[in-house]
């Protein structure tokens, strides 16, 4: 090879290497803090059916109206700070972020700028058995803007086709926490894991309601860097990060949506780079129904928010308050306690502490039933069947007593585990209670006479299998057990049928 050819060869293999890219993702998450009233006025945060009914001169930005900070919103922020192990400054304050858009009645949003109430926190996320710590740069308090609807001729339409805008200020002033992470995510699954962990922590703290419309909104920054730049711990040099063009994906409103949107965006960027194209630095909109991200194509002027201190709100001294604020046991601690106290494996304990509602339900069951049995029925059966149906425990919150009843029937041996699973499925699909399902289907456990009769009948009807068993063919017993089970409609216990058959045949 000539020197020239060697060089060409090397640069080719270099290009080959660079075709492998690692995704770099950072998040900006807005969560609604669960309070009764808005952050700067006494208007209710309940979702109203009529527009502009939870409003007052302050959240409408009427002249002369002054904001007063809601104590509960500050306390919620401090609880979050403690939970993510953040630094809370002794003194913090609010700023005005100025922009002119109809969702802001005052033409500015009250937010925090130079002294966020929480800084330098972290949240540990475990995905597919790998634990990773995601650094949280800052989390600050702010007010939500109002909501806009786009319309044409009295009908709702898309923003592009709209003739005019309809504005509802019910949400204006609802307390939000904006949580900003470092670009520590490498995979969309980690983002999903982070969001569900974050939600679970917020729920444990009692400062968040996942069921509220718009209670979680996510913007994600994403870029691709050559995989060779990634260290073993997954970190990437800051100069590499700075030179990579990134897109910002907006309009993500769920964990699943986040994973899908980012998986789409990773593929889109990787494909573009592999074809030698540049990634355009732009804002993209996640279109949930089509499952794609779309360029927003607005020639956005360079953001110029002209932040300045909000003089209508005196500063906040929260140092001592942050020390004193109490937080309950968090998911991680509860999982460890479950492993210790109830002898559970890590996976089962993780599932059982994934939401506060599940953990409370399980813990309540352990006072009455064997903790292993309760763990199996909640972690594997109930959560498994719910997950299969795309439901969560919140969807069946009002029926926990029915599940408790089903578990008690299993615990007391009144129904076989196999039939109990069938009952559970029917409970979820048909909405009936366990007792009526069992009665309607005759699934109560067969009594001993019934089982003995079935054993006799089976032996009678299957002389060949009986002969095989007597000639030492162990497998034949399983066939006979199956026949007895079938004859009793699954309501016999297979273990005891096995014993009965052996006793009868050996005797």
């Amino acid at each position: 090879m000539t020197a020239h050819a060697v060089e060409a060869h090397e640069s080719e293999s270099e290009r080959e290497r660079d075709r492998e890219f690692a995704a770099v993702i950072g998040l900006e998450v807005h969560v609604q803090l669960e309070t009764s009233t808005k952050v700067f006025c006494g208007c209710s945060t309940d979702s109203a059916t009529e527009p502009n009914t939870n409003v007052c001169p302050t959240c409408l930005g009427l002249p002369g109206a002054l904001p007063t900070l809601n104590e509960a919103a500050v306390e919620a922020a401090l609880k979050l700070g403690k939970a993510i192990d953040a630094d809370v400054p002794d003194r913090t304050r609010f700023h005005r972020k100025n922009y002119y858009y109809p969702d802001l009645p005052k033409n500015f949003q009250i937010t925090q700028y130079d002294a966020p109430i929480c800084a330098d926190g972290a949240l540990e996320v475990s995905v597919e058995g790998d634990s990773r710590e995601i650094a949280i740069t800052r989390a600050h308090l702010e007010e939500d803007p109002g909501s806009l609807a786009h319309a044409r001729g009295g009908r709702r339409t898309s923003i592009d086709a709209a003739e005019y805008t309809l504005v509802d200020y019910n949400r204006a002033g609802v307390p939000l926490m904006e949580i900003v992470t470092e670009p520590d995510f490498r995979r969309p699954t980690e983002v999903r894991g982070f969001l569900s962990k974050l939600e679970s922590v917020l729920e444990y703290l009692g400062i968040f309601d996942a069921d509220r419309d718009g209670s979680l909104r996510v913007d994600a920054n994403i870029s691709m860097v050559p995989e060779s730049e990634e260290s073993d711990e997954g970190s990437i040099p800051s100069d590499v990060l700075e030179t990579a063009n990134r897109t910002e994906v907006k309009n993500i409103s769920s964990h699943k949506g986040a994973e899908k949107a980012l998986a789409y965006e990773v593929t889109r960027q990787r494909n573009a780079l592999q074809r030698g194209r540049e990634i355009e630095q732009e804002t993209r909109h996640w279109d949930e129904s089509r499952g794609v991200t779309v360029s927003m194509r607005t020639k956005e002027a360079e953001a110029d928010y002209r932040y300045f201190a909000e003089a209508d709100l005196p500063p906040l001294e929260v140092g001592d308050w942050a020390e004193e604020v109490e937080i309950p046991e968090l998911p991680e601690a509860r999982r460890e306690r479950f492993e210790r106290e109830h002898g559970l494996g890590r996976e089962a304990a993780s599932k059982l502490t994934s939401t506060k509602a599940v953990a409370d339900f399980y813990e309540n069951l352990t006072t009455e039933f064997d903790s292993d049995l309760a763990a199996t029925w909640v972690a594997d059966e109930l959560l498994g069947e719910l997950n299969y149906r795309d439901l969560t425990t919140e969807d069946v919150e009002g029926r926990l007593d029915e599940f408790r009843r089903l578990i008690s029937l299993v615990a007391d041996g009144e129904i076989t585990e196999k039939n109990a699973t069938t009952v559970l499925r029917e409970m979820l699909d048909e909405g009936d209670d366990p007792d009526s399902i069992i009665e309607a289907n005759g699934m109560g456990k067969a009594d001993d006479d019934e089982v003995s009769a079935a054993v006799e009948a089976t032996i009678e009807a299957n002389p060949e299998a009986v002969a095989d068993y007597e000639n030492g063919e162990e497998g034949a017993i399983n066939f006979l057990v199956g026949q007895v089970m079938q004859a009793t409609g699954g309501s016999a216990d297979p273990g005891s049928v096995n014993v009965m058959l052996r006793e009868r045949l050996n005797g």
Binding site: V74, N98, Y100, D114, D168, F308, E317
Partner: protein, 115 residues
């Protein structure tokens, strides 16, 4: 309290001003500044208006500059932690909220289309 004791407050204000970018003095106001501010406020100005506002912005900033000559005095004692209990208070009825709006539809404020 001595005059120096007010410096604390002054430092705070200083930080706030920094966040707005470089300080603009009365002589510095250019037509470009006026166009930029008008753009942010979504106000369409013609050239005559830009000239007029450039002059007026300068004059307004000049008024504020005279405040630099006012001697510092003791500030009011700082207020901190003015908070409200999380209790709902009656606000405005929908009709009251919309009363001053030039246009409404179905209980909403109605405005021009946005991008």
């Amino acid at each position: 309290m001595s005059d120096e004791s007010t410096n604390d407050g002054a430092t705070n204000e200083g930080t706030a001003a920094d966040t707005t970018g470089e300080d603009v003095t009365a002589e510095d106001v250019t037509a470009e500044d006026v166009r930029h501010v008008a753009g942010l406020a979504r106000v369409d100005l013609d050239d005559d208006e830009v000239d007029r506002f450039t002059e007026q912005f300068g004059a307004i900033l000049e008024y504020f500059e005279t405040l630099d000559d006012v001697p510092e005095t003791d500030a009011e004692p700082d207020l901190v932690n003015v908070l409200r209990a999380d209790e709902t208070r009656e606000g405005l009825r929908q009709a009251e909220a919309l009363r001053n709006a030039p246009e409404t539809e179905d209980g909403y404020f109605k405005g021009p289309r946005v991008s």
